[in-house]
Symmetry: C2
């Protein structure tokens, strides 16, 4: 059982390459600091469809197809698709990818789903169950706000700790045979619930989960933070990122100079009025499958820990007074 | 790549044992034909809690703990838990299992989720990522009807093709080292959408997905239906089961004498007024982790194909006029 590392981690024996990747985002993301890193910016929030949900379906399908096209492959080459989104019963995914006709494992880890998809996809490759698999997640401002908070038409007030759901999708093709980037390890998260109940401050709920997974990653692999060129969370935003750094310091790890949060990068919070930053399954996925993997390809970074977080709430649990159990999944990504 | 079989199947090289299992159901299920096969019948629909959702949390947690106890193990022995439920954002699971503190992969395949959990759990064992993993799913009549159709308090009319959501949970511990039953293969489903829009007839939407996965299982492994002692669907109910048999006959496979549906077995439909039969993640899970695995243990059946189905709808997709994309995941289970 040499693949097992410590309590929550595994190291892969076979190479698991990230062979190709693609990202597509909406207009607001396309006006932000990362605008040049996305493959496509879709100015129409409906993506030519009739509803927010159909728009998200288009984002997920088109991004998946673009990722496969970049690998000169089609859906027939994909043994599995590991995919999910934020909407109830995964309708952002099911209606999006059904026409691809790839055997599907439906995943839900809230905004951490891209980490879960990469983890299970890499396990499928390394385990010998697949030559190539597709991983994809998405989110959409309109559908997400309607599902979790208020319909956009209500124009509700947004407190400073709140985040802005990214409209977009990221997709990656994992492969056994060829690539310049590989996944070498995984640290799978546990649910962490410290009693945070403010759904307008998801960063505070998710930061302890990020801390727990990053801490375990260091301990399981017997490494120090500077093992990585960057430690990248998904959408903690400004508030959650500060809490994460403090919590890790209290546990004797300082990642201040190494940490980056996709939610803090994707918007200019002051200029674009996005408060704490971006969030949603599409946030870390579109930043990973754009800026991050491009920087690794170009050897600006040679080894990173990608650790997106999610909080497992919904309006029922919120209305029944529950807190927000959260989770973070860590994925070690390296230049070949 | 000898594990790969055909287009959608894999055969495991290492033994993946189902080491222990447990099932808990509500009062109505405890009055049905399978009453003697469940480990525990909970007459209080609230399970001592305040809400339907908290009740489902209790079902999932208690059933998981009972399954681990039967293996003389605790949650510290479980490397992963593969788990999900029907509620939006998996709150039946997240609030249920968080106290177990096991690294979690959140899954959503609607009523097929137990098949998805067994598939990925078996891949984790065979792939060398775990010694033991926990798999668990649940559903609850109150929470599910509120989520997908009408609150129970509305006492809406139920057409003959409608199903009755099972209140209950099933859990199984998969293990590399010891057991009398093993998982030897998996056939992973694709989304199938033939345009069925009647949410009061989910069997009709799911039958084509069951047919597709069963057909692929036969072809991928080069076998005939009588390779199995039973071919067991999850909750097609009476209407869906008839459609499945007819569709397979049209594809030159007759499984009439071999087929069983958990939704048809769990209630006496005429006596208990459950129309087409039982449904929900807890239906096939509680029947698997009671009657089915007990029969295999006792060698009444030596090899079965367990193929639960799910339909990936929600009220948004329904209200927007969409059909019900469905999926079925096949798991080959054998007596050692």
């Amino acid at each position: 059982m040499e693949k097992i590392r410590g309590e929550q981690s595994i190291a892969f024996e076979q190479p698991v390459y990230i062979r190709s990747w693609a990202s597509m985002v909406g207009q607001k993301e396309g006006e932000g600091p990362l605008k040049d890193t996305f493959d496509q910016i879709v100015d129409d929030p409906f993506f030519g469809q009739d509803t927010w949900e159909e728009s998200e379906n288009e984002f997920q399908k088109e991004t998946a197809q673009l990722a496969m096209k970049k690998a000169n492959m089609s859906s027939q080459d994909m043994r599995y698709v590991f995919a999910g989104d934020l909407l109830p019963q995964l309708i952002g995914t099911s209606f999006g990818i059904k026409s691809l006709e790839i055997p599907w494992f439906g995943l839900y880890g809230a905004c951490s789903t891209m980490g879960e998809a990469l983890s299970l996809g890499a396990m499928a490759i390394d385990g010998g169950y697949a030559e190539h698999v597709l991983t994809v997640t998405s989110s959409h401002l309109g559908g997400t706000e309607k599902t979790f908070r208020y319909p956009l038409e209500y124009a509700n007030q947004r407190p400073p700790a709140s985040s802005w759901t990214v409209t977009g999708s990221g997709a990656a093709v994992l492969s056994r045979t060829e690539g310049e980037i590989k996944i070498t390890g995984v640290t799978t998260g546990k649910l962490v619930d410290l009693g945070v109940t403010d759904t307008m401050n998801m960063g505070a709920a998710m930061a302890p989960a990020a801390c727990a997974t990053i801490y375990k990653n260091f301990r399981d692999f017997g490494i120090q933070p500077d093992h990585y060129d960057k430690i990248i969370t998904g959408d903690l935003g400004k508030v959650g990122s500060e809490i994460l750094l403090r919590l890790l310091k209290e546990n004797h790890y300082d990642i201040t100079g190494l940490h980056m949060d996709c939610g803090c990068e994707i918007y200019d919070a002051d200029e674009q009025n996005t408060n704490a930053g971006g969030s949603g399954c599409g946030c870390c996925a579109s930043v990973l499958c754009g800026m991050i993997l491009n920087k690794i390809k170009n050897r600006e970074w040679n080894r990173i820990l990608f650790v997106p977080t999610g909080t497992l709430l919904n309006t029922i649990s919120f209305n029944e007074g529950k807190a927000m159990p959260s989770i973070a999944h860590g994925v070690v990504i390296e230049r070949v």
